[in-house]
């Protein structure tokens, strides 16, 4: 799976399972749009669980940091790094 496909997978999860139809606008949640302030601690944990289950990775607690969850691109880069 390439980076664009990972970004699309994360985006679909956020739209369908976290923000629901609030973000159904085709232009919403672009890879570099900020997610800061949109996710609470439970939301972050759901994103982490999704990434671990969908991409077969383990994200260490020490990597669950703001800089890795600021945008969809940052999340995709974290996933790619864990896959290596």
């Amino acid at each position: 799976m390439n980076k664009v496909e990972i970004e699309e997978g994360v985006r679909n999860f956020l739209i369908n399972e976290v923000f629901y139809d609030k973000a159904l606008d085709a232009n919403a949640l672009q890879p570099t749009d900020t997610l800061v302030g949109l996710l609470d601690s439970l939301g972050i944990m759901r994103v982490v669980n999704f990434c671990e289950e969908s991409f077969g990775i383990q994200i260490p607690d020490t990597d669950i940091l703001p800089e890795h969850f600021e945008t969809i691109r940052a999340i995709a880069e974290l996933i790619a790094a864990q896959q290596k």
């Binding site: 139809d21 800061v36 302030g37 609470d40 601690s41 607690d61 940091l65 703001p66 600021e70």
Partner: protein, 531 residues
């Protein structure tokens, strides 16, 4: 002290150069906080804000936001702080409900507010409490930029406020489908702040973490007990708050000494934040409230921070903190820890349904009287009359008291223990939630015939919410669309984790919805053995 802004004025006189607020590498000294809040007060006053008005704040945490809280109170008005992550629909409902004279926000919120107010802002002016290049208009209300505020006079203005005037209104979940505003006077807030500051020995050398939002009553300890002592308050930004590892690291770097948060916060810090590794040797007081702290997690926390004092503070928003229990030793068994004894400025009464005092040892409803009580609910005289009323306290005496809805029992050692709720109010992530408000919102959806929300107990978050919905005949709506509908109106912590559709709901013999049966069914379906 008679009003909350006196705390900052006095701290600015005694410790002008001491940091009052430190956040994201920026610091406001007490002198700067005093001057900036005076400028905000002068700006508001020039726009007609006066004693008895309400000013709403809808903005992320920042040093400017804290200056704005004081600035509002310095005009004699009460501040109404709204959850920065709440949907615009809810924020605008609150602005209209409290008839806000002014709104303090940030330019990034302008488009949402403009759309929601539909061209007609209910307030006289909008202030932007953030240095920004642009100050976009909101629904034709006059807009004042941060640069204009900075140019205002920095001297104090006369507010005319006394201890009995309102300091702030905190909106909490309401069972009838809309949030309700709890009115707190300067006197009630100071009664709690002075008790807590003395009890936990907060001094100007302390560094207090502020985790709770300013719409949440836990924040009043951080802000005002901190200012009373001339201590430094470290607000946790929304960028850091959801990340336990980042928060634990930040606490260590900031050498936090006092922290007041929900058990959920501490559990996440231990579970995902490597708190044990960071240690936080500076921490000396750890206070928690808002929900029951599962003993197995509390023991773990006491192991990690053996040097700290631990106390369970109890009290609905309507009473501030009214009972407390210091956990001096690790609990021997897994029974929930007590909510403790009354604070010296409060009195607790355990009554039966006919409002008769019950003898010690019997379970009854807790009513609270004393100096920390709210003034009532904003614009809800009916509800105020039902929940805040004189009760007989023995020997022919009566006292004004608040009906908490909490069932408690006093044990022989004098401590009160919590035994559950009389109604459908629950706690999730420390927030108090009326299940009826979520059900009422769900019922407003055109495809929903009937909806019930049950709260599934959860060690980490207090409760997780599960909605069961019956659709109208021939109507079609899916879970995602219904959650999206809820997110337009409710804060994210009130949106159920799961929405399940059924053809009908279980009913009791008297034809009421059988909530207990429903909860049992939901819990059984969720248990690992049923998968």
């Amino acid at each position: 002290m008679s009003v909350l802004p006196d705390l900052v004025r006095r701290a600015a006189e005694r410790w002008p150069d001491h940091p009052a607020i430190a956040m994201d590498g920026r610091t406001f000294t007490y002198a700067e906080l005093e001057a900036t809040s005076n400028r905000i007060a002068s700006t508001l006053r020039a726009r007609g804000v006066r004693l008895g008005d309400r000013v709403m704040l809808w903005l992320p945490k920042s040093p400017e936001a804290i200056a704005a809280l004081y600035g509002v109170m310095k005009t004699g008005a009460a501040y109404v702080s709204v959850d920065p992550s709440a949907p615009a629909q809810r924020a605008c409902y609150i602005a209209r409900d409290c008839a806000a004279a002014a709104l303090i926000t940030v330019p990034a919120r302008a488009a949402q507010l403009d759309k929601e107010f539909a061209g007609e802002a209910p307030m006289r002016s909008v202030l932007y409490a953030e240095p920004a290049a642009e100050s976009p208009p909101i629904a034709q209300a006059p807009v004042i930029s941060w640069a204009e505020i900075q140019a205002a006079a920095s001297g104090a203005i006369e507010s005319g406020a006394t201890a009995r005037n309102l300091a702030y209104i905190l909106y909490t979940s309401g069972s009838t489908g809309q949030p309700k505003g709890v009115m707190i006077s300067h006197s009630a807030s100071l009664s709690f702040v002075e008790w807590a500051g003395d009890k936990f020995g907060v001094s100007h050398e302390d560094r207090l973490s502020n985790h709770a939002g300013f719409h949440f009553d836990l924040s009043t300890f951080d802000l005002y007990a901190g200012a009373r002592a001339g201590a430094t308050v470290y607000p946790v930004s929304s960028r850091i708050a959801p990340f336990p590892a980042a928060l634990a690291k930040q606490w260590k770097e900031q050498q936090i000494t006092v922290c007041y948060a929900t058990p959920s916060t501490f559990i996440l810090l231990m579970g995902r934040g490597n708190l044990a590794e960071h240690g936080i040797p500076s921490m000396r007081v750890l206070l928690f409230a808002g929900e029951v702290f599962a003993v197995k997690h509390l023991r773990q926390l006491m192991d990690i921070l053996p040097q700290a004092r631990f106390a369970n503070l109890y009290g609905p928003t309507e009473t501030n903190v009214c009972t407390w229990y210091e956990v001096k030793e690790q609990p021997a068994d897994d029974a929930p820890i007590p909510i403790g004894r009354e604070c010296e400025n409060c009195q607790g009464f355990i009554l039966d349904e006919s409002l008769k005092l019950l003898p010690d040892g019997e379970v009854g409803e807790l009513w609270i009287g004393g100096g920390t009580l709210m003034e009532g609910y904003w614009g809800r005289e009916d509800l105020t009359a039902r929940t805040l009323r004189p009760i007989g306290t023995g020997n022919g005496k009566t006292q004004l008291a608040y009906k908490t809805g909490d069932l408690v029992r006093r044990f022989p050692d004098g401590n009160l223990r919590f035994f559950g709720r009389r109604d459908h109010q629950i706690k999730t992530r420390g927030y108090r939630v009326e299940l009826g408000e979520i059900e009422a919102t769900l019922s407003r959806h055109q495809a929903v015939e009937e909806a019930v929300v049950v709260a599934v107990p959860d060690d980490q978050f207090g409760h997780l919410l599960h909605a069961v919905v019956v659709r109208k005949p021939q109507a079609s709506v899916e879970e995602a669309a219904l959650k999206g509908f809820l997110m337009e109106a409710l804060p994210v912590y009130m949106v159920p984790e799961h929405i399940e559709f059924r053809a009908e709901l279980p009913h009791t013999y008297s034809d009421k919805i059988d909530r207990e049966a429903l909860l049992r069914q939901v819990m059984a379906a969720a248990s690992p053995s049923s998968r």
